[in-house]
């Protein structure tokens, strides 16, 4: 590949400052016209930076690992289960939990934009929103998994969920071996963001500090 091919970064760099100017202009206009309250904007940003995130999905998964009744309810109707079992007070509608098994590995994508279960996993990482992921996840999911260093046996079905509507998918990965008797909180520490998207597995016990 040519050394000249890295135009994207170059172009991207110049776009950023242009965009910064545009954002500043927009916010100024919207504030001056009274459409927005900048303090509410601050509060919204802070909430998405601090309140939501993969730790929430991890709590749901950990609960499913220790509580078979919750797991059954979660797989039946995730939104209802999360609130009725008291994991969280509130959960968005149409959350769908899908379970990995030795026979099936689930992977979530949104090819058309970047739909993602915000209130379970926070805002999506850049790779999830990127063209490489959106384009390849449905035609070459094992190739994508290889990009994440993940290789699954050929006996495993790869099930890709393209989030084309307002349903939001959460993968429930398999509980790692060697975690018998672990507390929900300790188990939650094994549940990575990628394991709930399907591009990773939970951490093994030996991968976390005791």
């Amino acid at each position: 590949m040519s050394a000249h091919d890295h135009d994207h970064d170059h172009h991207h760099g110049s776009e950023l400052s242009d965009t910064q100017l545009r954002v500043r202009a927009l916010e100024t206009i919207l504030t001056q016209k009274g459409y927005i309250d900048p303090q509410a904007i601050d509060a919204l940003i802070e909430a998405f930076e601090t309140k939501v995130g993969p730790h929430r999905g991890a709590q749901v998964v950990a609960r499913a690992w220790v509580d078979p009744a919750f797991k059954a309810a979660l797989l039946e109707d995730a939104t209802a289960a999360i609130t009725s079992f008291g994991v969280f007070e509130r959960a968005s509608e149409h959350i769908i939990a899908v379970e990995n098994t030795p026979q099936r590995h689930n992977m979530v994508v949104c090819t058309l934009c970047s739909c993602y279960p915000w209130d379970m996993l926070g805002l999506p990482p850049v790779w999830y929103k990127s063209a490489p992921y959106r384009s390849r996840a449905v035609i070459d999911p094992r190739g994508v998994l290889a990009d994440f260093g993940l290789s699954l046996p050929d006996s495993v079905e790869i099930r890709v969920w393209d989030s084309t509507a307002e349903t939001r998918y959460l993968v429930v990965p398999m509980r790692p071996d060697g975690t018998q008797g672990w507390s929900e909180e300790r188990l939650a520490g094994l549940v990575t963001r990628n394991s709930m998207i399907g591009t990773g597995l939970p951490l093994r016990p030996d991968e976390v500090a005791a």
Binding site: L26, Y35, I45
Partner: protein, 218 residues
């Protein structure tokens, strides 16, 4: 519309590269854009699909060369202009030049906790669901120039209804002035080999969420 946003199955974009310890926002402006979009969405002048469509209508090379939040910024500009909340001369000047228009709701800091959960797109069903779980259905070959959520890569292919997800606002209608026009939503699963041909990975299955008007009995 058959835009570059409909990229499922395309080649040439390279490897998926993960950033370690990625921050929620990479620069303050990303957070501002995100929050401005959320806040202005409360005006009730557009919905999520109109917002998606605004981004889809960016020039294709701009769409591809822009980052996620750059697209949100461009999309918001389009929505503000098209809804008349902001005029082009204001964008050029970087300040308000005209009186504001009345809007349904203005985000207050106290509203923020309620905005962490998503809104509901379920609506009462106008009729019973036409397809049952297990039914074989063909994704129709439609190619509207307007917004649709039926990706090109499944059109014309036969899949199986795996679940019925309730009755939802229909994106193809809300974005073309036809209101919510709710329709049943199905999870339809396709064999990878049917989608991508005999050379493709036989262990792959791909599902999409498809509204009833996208489907016909097969």
């Amino acid at each position: 519309m058959n835009g570059v946003h409909d990229m499922g199955g395309m080649h040439g974009f390279g490897a998926v590269i993960e950033e370690k310890n990625e921050p929620v926002f990479h620069a303050p402006w990303e957070g501002r854009v995100f929050a401005l979009n959320r806040a202005m969405g409360l005006t009730g002048l557009w919905n999520l699909d109109m917002s998606r469509n605004a981004q889809e209508r960016l020039p294709p090379h701009v769409y591809l060369a822009s980052s996620y939040y750059e697209r949100w910024e461009r999309g918001l500009e389009k929505l503000l202009l098209e809804s008349g909340l902001v005029d082009a001369d204001e964008l050029a000047a970087g300040r308000a030049l005209h009186p504001a228009k009345p809007v349904a709701r203005k985000l207050a800091a106290a509203d923020v906790p309620g905005l962490l959960a998503r809104g509901s797109y379920a609506r009462p069903a106008p009729a019973p669901a036409r397809f049952a779980v297990g039914a074989r259905v063909r994704a129709k070959n439609i190619n509207p120039v307007t917004h649709t959520r039926l990706p090109r890569y499944v059109r014309g292919h036969v899949g199986v209804v795996e679940a019925i997800r309730g009755c939802h606002v229909f994106p193809d209608s809300t974005t073309t002035g036809k209101g919510d026009d709710p329709h049943w939503l199905y999870t339809v699963v396709f064999d990878g080999v049917d989608l991508w041909g005999p050379q493709s990975d036989p262990t792959v299955k791909v599902s999409v969420e498809a509204w009833e008007p996208y489907l016909q009995a097969a």
